[in-house]
Symmetry: C3
Subunit: 631 residues, 3 copies
């Protein structure tokens, strides 16, 4: 499939007479796909059971007539006000016990049966009307699951559903008590109705309770999505997708993705740098107008896996956003470069959000490709350049990687549940490994942890922090033949969230048992060698495994047996660089803002810095990319 | 009117036999006014409908007999405990949904009809008893509206009143939906009862919703005040006033002031420096015992406008207070100097809070002019010196200014509703402009933004950050003939809180449209010239307006057309200094702690520093003022 | 009594066949005492009224047969889930109004009569079964009162009990109104049912209200404890004790201790350094793996007083804990050294928590002496060394001190209620005095403030910050004949929490009245002499008392009359050192990590530093102690 440019459009926001001109200009810009409808429930069904299809029919007609392919959203992220009259208890409840009210979006609990049915009904009527319409190129289910912290809910609906979920999992309260270790502190339950959600407890709840709750809410999201898929699937042949949001970890994207045909995500590089990236101030200042050089790539690689190879950017930042602590404008070139980079990672469509900046409501200061007065914003020119560039690309760009990074949502929940130290975060660990690999010039596949997965074909697999692996997962990783790096905190807990006996990591061929873990305060950074330190975390092992690296004080931090490595501490970026160079044989690290992404046929050299960088005989302009054929 | 000294006194706190001695000593100190009664509801009406006038009659008698003029407060800030039995739902509710309980003061929601009636009834009985009593020199309505964050309430009473307020404003839900842009995210309402208060929403509520709520709560305060005025006004000829609190912005003081005869405010320079001023630590350390050199003056000028020329300091800090994060004692001389400064700005009365430090309850560590053991505290001597100084002043001191600063509460709410960047605050902007003008030696009138206002007669009008202006307001400002500085963020939103089309600021004669705004992180400070930077905010314009000033990287930050200027960024203090020197022609800036305030006949040179400062051939002692006749 | 080593053990957590081996290994380690049962309610009474004694009988049998003395806990800290069905309102309520739910421990309000009775019933049945069993060496009542912030509760049960408590104290609402000064802000009550708990008020509640509430909740803890004591006492001759937690100040430990025979506390030096000690980062880094050099000693001395001479460490940190912001492992030697130090302060038993690390539930990452896989953890060897060292000690070690520090919980509540400045904390003040005395080489007795106490026999009594003293308490202190240091903030409030008239401190023989207090911002540190400063707090006095020390600017900070001193400011550590050297005649201060503790026969020289320290001709190894006979 030829990679192409899309845009998000809200016909219901604009006078109907502007639609044809908008459509024509989109096409002139080189745009091929247009997403509509995902927030329009109150216009599709203004009153319960009363549908207004006319405007939507005409909008689809205008857009498709201009040559655009339609991506139609199901509007379940924005139930109308009247839905609350039907289901007053449909709202999610926050951890302090307060219902999260109507007046923005995503005001529902995924566990609420009534609203779940209503959302599926909406899918059914949409599918009945447009399911066989060839102008619909794809369907988006709901919008940005988990955005605004909407996965964890402590509602009555969630409480009842959690009890049912536990009953199915454990079959008897006695089994649950054993699995959770509820004998501790007399927390034993006699009946399913004894079990509550793990908020507002006097001190931390049982981590097994917390982790099962997190598994439960993730399942609720997956079931919620599956319910809409089940309603739509029989009515359409068009692919189904969802648009995930950056660094949302509260549900398992692979579970949701399993029911869909394509993954997509909403990429706001500058907003994310400001609001959801831990980094040194100097780093944030350097990339203030470009975004972090690895954050987008990480998610591109992640969603390629979630989409089983098929993925899009559904919303691409087109200028300043409105929702981060600071909202600077992109440096010239970045709005185009982000699209090029996504395509280098295999994106089929890069869709800008949004066509024209809305002059009202929550996002009125969120840029579009067009200004509110219908004149072109800076993003439009860049989108056009991106479209032209994509047209000049070879039709087939197959991402190619020799390195795999395993990313596991369950591990994130496990770490959040039992952090054992302030600032100890799974995503940060995985991302620091990813960044180090990228600094060494690697192209990376991100993969889930799966029992039946064949991890063969990689030179190196990096799998940090997988808190729990079953035997088949461990086997899949260790038998792949690749160099393997696991640890820290890998396979140190059972699936029931207990410490295994014998202790983990229990890696075949590596005689090592982690007996004790330490967390360190921020600022305590034992030396490994000059300007290489570890921090935050140190494990202490027992066993005969070879020690490949020690702290200056002698404490081992890296164990090895053949190609299998176990990291027993948290390296700083410089030490990560050394480790990754050792594992990959990379002769040097790339400049701070330069990254490489390979496809089977081409090498993309991407410069996130403002200034040109010399590399390997080439000069890469600032905020630009070189696309080199691979020899 | 001869400026004079007052004091706040609580006869109900003290044994009756001490009253005559207290009154005599007040008179000996040079005090002419005494405020009483504003917290005494439980003594005036100990049980519902049972009044005890005896003590109050006698207190008024004792004080007035000694020659003191009485300011009598209505006690609505402290409803007795039994009022809650009548109106269990009268309490305000915080943003998290919790009622704010009895046990301190201001425990009521301004929107509660029942308590509003009860408070008006209390005014009526007070007025009936004392309204024609010549010993009552003025009436204070309630006490410190908004103190302790008491304007925004999310009670049932507020919810119902808000729906009525919206129905009156918009007439139909459809009109409201259009005005707010509720088609966005399907937030459309079918009925007034659909509308809730904008707290606890999943993500930010519609800014139009939030801004209308803020307008509504401001109106509730004004209506609350007006209800008491309506009850009292027919019963008395004495002037009515209210005592506002420093940097309280949640209601429109001009609206409240329109119904009153005099404005007053409660000036706690050291408490405010500690708890409600953003400033560098070195600045705070330098003025720790004096207060900020501009904070009091700003409010003096503001309340002169709110009082339509007539204003008092109702509570003047007399020593250490009890409520700020740190509570140091005033430097010797300041308790007097603050009074002198107020008079230089036109105050009619400066009233110290309080006569004798109470040895019990919440404010027992708040200093008075007298210690709890009835011996003189350091403030007493200074109050006496201030009284003596005032007696030596010419009777008529008419403040005189060539510069006007426009201050607009609606703009503050608009900025808070849609900040588009952490730390972006309207008051900070207005105050930084005020400080810069004062550093240039200017005397300033602060004025509201008003349709029918004649702004003529000023050399310079500074009007930063007025988010929305109607055509008449814009006309009034631009047609004044003065040099005018507007921006940043001026007239960029419609009254319905949408982006206008064509874009603002739409200043007659200045061809400039702001197309895009950026917020920057703290610490990012683009250079303009050596040691001059902008920060936080940058607007990008379109149009033919002359660029008067650019950043070093070429981006315009000041536009000009004749005498009209538009500032498109947020200057730091040094750059503000340059801009203000350009606009005023001031040859230099005053020393950091020195300020000038002119009246028609005199120039007050006020030194907030501890050490003497040489200025224009004079030496101004530390914590003191020179009063020079104007040539 | 020969000091000895104990351990905490949870037979209900382990398969019964492991019990004999565990018991044998405990004995081999030199352990003599084993605590069991304190969290086992759900196993003792699995269903209401249905008791299962078999397992507990057998556990006691196995342990006692091996030669271990049993400490049996009452399980009231962990009511089973079914207890909530009996008493749905038994949960404590947090300050925001949310019930604190089941799912961890300590989920009860001390004021709830029903659960109080249920807990006493459990004591009765335990006492009936084991009260005369000679194998039970002691009983522990409940567990860690106040842990997880569980003293202050805003439940309905607390509200009703508070009204009763006030009615008993004041007899009439009028008396309460007078005592609290409720005329201020019309806060007067007509009836007991008018009074609410002091949470969620609009601004701060009346401090007298808050302080009475704090006294009330402390009484609730004492009554709660006394109720269990009353149930158990007739049924057993074994001593009763409670295990207090470090730096828990919300209830008066002396009140609870009065009903018990022995005090004990739970000593987690590294956890406490991380989570409840204010100290400079460099200090925290230096002692990261050892704990603060004075924090344990302070509590040892405190609980020796609470236990009226008899005290234990009931839980001693054995390795990394799981609950602090960072959880590093102890430096080698510390697990032993902490036990030695406790014994130097007079501990009868030092009991490690816990025998084997639990592989499940909340504390699964809390180390034990054994790893979860039943192999020895590093703590086991150190515990054995400690046991061997203790066996070599002379049987009788009587702590001996020439200096007394008065510690008063009421003062802590008074300071918290009326801080008059951010960061102004009573514990910090007392602890800074204690540290200074220890740096000067002193051994210290910590004592309560008591009317009938004979403080004779000390060379020096340090009594900082006692907010209120009655005449007999003042007499006891000043008539002791010792050098006495009082202040700052001593006797400045009446028992009703008003400012006395005449003003305090009213120390016999010292003509000084504190007229005004100032709090300073962090970072403001007036010089006293080179590198000696005061900060945060300054009092201003009146009177003829000799000034012993002044700030460089002349303001007095230390007053004196003969042997009586009053400190009028908050000294930094260096100034504290000077003051203490003056008062004690100590020629120098000890090195930062070295401390001395004397018994009648021996001097313990304890080195908290990692490196050896030379002292008085001896070399003290790092993390070790010398035990020298006293000449
Ligand atoms: Zn280093
Ligand atoms: Zn500079
Ligand atoms: Zn110094």
């Amino acid at each position: 499939m030829m990679p192409s440019i899309g845009v998000c459009y809200y016909p219901e926001h604009w006078a109907e007479e502007t639609w044809p001109r908008d459509a024509r200009r989109m096409v002139d810009t080189g745009i091929t796909h247009v997403r509509i409808g995902e927030f329009a429930w109150s216009r599709i069904e203004p009153r319960p059971g009363v549908f207004d299809w006319d405007w939507l029919d005409r909008a689809i007609d205008v857009l498709a007539s201009a040559g655009l392919k339609i991506v139609l959203g199901t509007p379940s992220a924005t139930p109308p006000r009247w839905m609350l009259d039907r289901f007053p208890d449909m709202l999610a409840v926050d951890a302090a016990g307060a219902p999260r009210k109507f007046g923005s979006r995503r005001h529902y609990c995924h566990a609420h049966d009534g609203y779940r049915d209503a959302a599926a009904d909406m899918c059914r009527v949409l599918g009945e009307r447009y399911g066989r319409d060839a102008r619909i190129a794809a369907w988006q289910i709901d919008n940005e699951y988990g955005c605004h912290d909407t996965v964890l809910s402590y509602s009555d609906a969630a409480r009842h559903a959690f009890r049912d979920w536990l009953a199915r999992k454990y079959q008897s309260p006695e089994a649950l008590n054993r699995a959770w270790g509820n004998v501790f502190w007399s927390m034993e339950y006699a009946d399913w109705t004894d079990v509550d959600l793990p908020n507002l407890t006097v001190t931390q709840p049982n981590p097994a309770h917390e982790l099962d709750y997190r598994r439960f809410v993730s399942d609720m999201v997956a079931q919620w999505n599956a319910r809409q898929v089940a309603a739509l699937r029989p009515l359409t042949d068009a692919p189904l997708l969802h648009n995930y949001m950056g660094r949302v970890l509260e549900f398992d994207h692979f579970d949701v993705g399993a029911d869909l045909d394509i993954a997509s995500w909403d990429s706001y590089p500058i907003g994310f740098l400001s609001d959801r990236l831990e980094a040194a101030p100097a780093h944030k200042a350097r990339f203030m107008r470009q975004g972090d050089p690895d954050f987008q790539a990480f998610h591109h690689d992640l969603y390629r896996a979630v989409g089983k190879g098929r993925w899009w950017v559904m919303e691409q930042q087109p200028g300043p956003v409105n929702w981060a602590p600071s909202n600077p404008a992109p440096a010239p070139g970045m709005v185009r470069l982000w699209a090029i980079e996504a395509v280098a990672h295999g994106a089929e469509v890069v869709s800008y959000f949004r066509w024209r900046q809305a002059p009202f409501a929550q996002e009125q200061l969120h840029a579009g490709l067009m200004y509110p007065d219908d004149t072109p914003a800076p993003g439009l020119t860049e989108a056009k350049r991106a479209a032209d560039d994509l047209a000049a690309l070879p039709a087939q760009l197959t991402p190619s990687a020799r390195v795999a990074l395993i990313f596991d949502y369950q591990s994130d929940w496990a770490w959040k549940t039992l952090p054992q130290g302030a600032g100890f975060d799974y995503f940060d660990l995985a991302f620091s490994a990813y960044r180090a690999l990228r600094r060494a010039g690697m192209s990376i596949d991100i993969l889930p942890l799966e029992t039946a997965r064949d991890y063969g074909g990689y030179d190196l697999i990096v799998a940090p922090g997988l808190m729990t692996l079953n035997a088949a997962e461990m086997q899949a990783l260790t038998a792949s033949g690749a160099t393997l790096l696991m640890g820290p905190r890998s396979n140190l807990q059972t699936p029931d969230f207990q410490i295994p006996n014998p202790p983990g990591p229990a890696i075949p061929g590596l005689d090592l048992q982690i007996m004790q873990v330490e967390s360190y305060p921020q600022g305590y950074a034992p030396h490994v060698r000059d300007d290489r330190h570890i921090g935050i975390w140190q494990e202490h092992g027992r066993g005969t495994a070879e020690v490949a690296l020690r702290r200056r004080d002698g404490i081992p931090i890296l164990y090895r047996a053949g190609k299998i490595h176990y990291l027993a501490a948290w390296p700083d970026d410089a030490l990560w660089g050394d480790i990754v160079q050792d594992l990959t044989g990379a002769p040097s690290l790339l400049p701070p803002g330069l990254r490489i992404r390979d496809t089977e046929s081409h090498r993309f050299v991407i410069n996130y810095d403002l200034d040109p960088v010399d590399w390997d005989g080439h000069t890469v302009p600032g905020c630009d990319a070189l696309i080199l054929p691979r020899s």
